[in-house]
Amino acid sequence: MSTGEPLNGAQIVLRALADQNVEHLFGYPGGAVLPIYDEIVQQDKVKHVLVRHEQGAGHAAEGYARSTGKPGVVLVTSGPGATNMVTALADAMMDSIPLVCLTGQVATQLIGNDAFQECDTVGITRQCTKHNWLVRDVNDLARIIHEAFYVATNGRPGPVVVDIPKDVQFAMGNYVGPHKIRHNTYHPKVKGDMEAIRQAVDMLADAKKPLFYTGGGVINSGPEASHLLRELVQLTGHPITSTLMGLGAYPASDKQWLGMLGMHGTYEANMAMYECDLMFCIGARFDDRITGRVDAFSPNSKKIHVDIDASSINKNIQVDLPIVGDVAHVLEDFLRIWRDRAHMPDKAASKVWWSEIDEWRARDCLKFKPNKDVIMPQYAIQRLYENCKGRETFVTTEVGQHQMWAAQFFHFDEPNHWMTSGGLGTMGYGMPAAIGVQMAHPDALVVDIAGDASILMNMQELSTAVQHKLPVKIFILNNQYMGMVRQWQQLLHGNRLSETYMESLPDFVKLAEAYGARGIRVEKPDDLDEAIKEMIEVDMPVLFDCRVANLANCFPMIPSGQPHNKMLLGEEVSDDDVGSAISDEGKVLV
């Protein structure tokens, strides 16, 4: 569709974004995107959210995308603008988050001349995007932007970059609408192979100790996938666990839920992984935080793996039955066949399996020693959870101990309500992500569960939250350590703490005030509830400095290099166990 009136490149960008139903754009201006910013200020369809650092724009767009199911859109300038985005792109790549990142570039005739603020953006981002484009002709611009949205959101979602030289932004050209685009090569398969699905139905019907192991792919597939997953799990009566990325796809309040699995997952989830006879993996990728020692991974199970990305199949773990397809499509077919065949769960086998699981549950692996004088970090999350109950709450996190405690003690009943950096493990993700979430859900409660080290990595974004009146709550578990790194130094390096003590942390209350936000500090368990209530009630961004036990460690834990049945449980573990838990082989595994 040609628009009739000629448009310049910058106008084409805005027109394309509007036609893609983009409502929010996270960005930071600069020389190479001035023409686009000049168009932004002259329209009101796309709302621009100014951040303080390009990385913040990237994570904000990730939070936006993860909480809405829509692609997050970013606009940054050339050179440092683009390189500052690299971490967010790599993060989105690892966690399969749809991002469309537009970058300015120096004018085409300057490319390759080491011009001011020039960098090889498509070269630098090639390995951390699903695809990227350098637009050399304004007449390709609209098509490429629409293709970029298509690629970011179809198949396994991921980040894409469209690099737009400044002369292309000024040049006059033709606009085409999104419906005109059919991609030349990229047509991912969403329907699973029916024969494989039939076989999966038979395998599940025959299993005595089946387990659903689900991941972020269920959430990426959309709300229908979570709905179908619930139906399937409840119909069969079998236990379910999930990866960090998959939390919320199945309600944590349900009795069939075993909690998260993996390195800091629950004892019952990991034991069930080890002992099951059928593992039904849906939208997860057998990553090393999940598998532990690969050659001792779930030794007695047949494995079914549903994934939209064929390269996830047999990458780390050999499976017996791969099904390449979109989770919702595959589950829909699976359920129909299951019902057609009128399979009934094997009640006797199920009873035996659940009684085994109940024994593992009885170990109460998340138990921690309560303390009257000092706030235990686990207790802080418990109280936060209780006080957020009954409200529409979205949680983001940074990376470290607090992230694992949040995953263990904050319970999610709905998909798209938990935003965390799983694959890349990006400290500094949480606050900008929370800003993106709050932008999309202005009336919801958005909490970033943070650590004192992580939060400082993108602290500048508090200014963004204040400017845009986004009342995000930054709940800092402040133990004055990089807690997870310290925990590993205790485990691996004879408790020699190297550079993990935060000697000169800022006064977070004063810092909040300096930014025009609210600061709250709590040091005693008895004051916690009141303070959390205040945090929630205040209609402005809050930095909540929750002083917690400095030396608490995150358990249970599968020491690296160990299989699932060799977990360390916090209550039962001695200092000696901690010191000798990881073998020399395990030490190199991180």
């Binding site: 090639r126 050999q318 017996d320």
Partner: protein, 174 residues
Amino acid sequence: MSEPEEAIVSHTFSVLVDNEPGVLARVIGLFSSRGYNIDSLTVSETEHEKHVSRITVVSSATPMVLTQIRAQFERLVPVHKVRDLSNTERPLERELALIKVAGAGDARVEALRLADAFRATVIDATVNHFVFEITGRTSKINQFVALMEPLGLVEVARTGIAALSRGPKGIFDD
């Protein structure tokens, strides 16, 4: 299916791609970022009007990794079609080499005699050098180069392997 196959084998992949800027960098980046071996890589536009190029890659790995390589190729956005040519049969593979040999006397005569036996052709010569052009399987070229070594071998340029499947079917007729 569950027993690990540890043996390293060599497979030849044929990949049809849109000939867009950076597509070769994507392929090379895929191999380097995931630690796969490239034993041979050739690329050239094969359908000019459609801007389609054919990439031929030879890689050695375990069967599990070879399956991964194929899947990784398929995820690249500008890829039309991937085929593991070694999956069912030994594919047709040819390589071209240019080989410069300098010398005089018996060595020079022997080089020319061997070239004849290997059906290499002389494409440049003076009284004290030859440049041979030779086409064939990689092993044949290796053998010829080894024979030239004591006879005054100066330098070698090789194209890498071009390959097709046997029989009447093309890459889309799976």
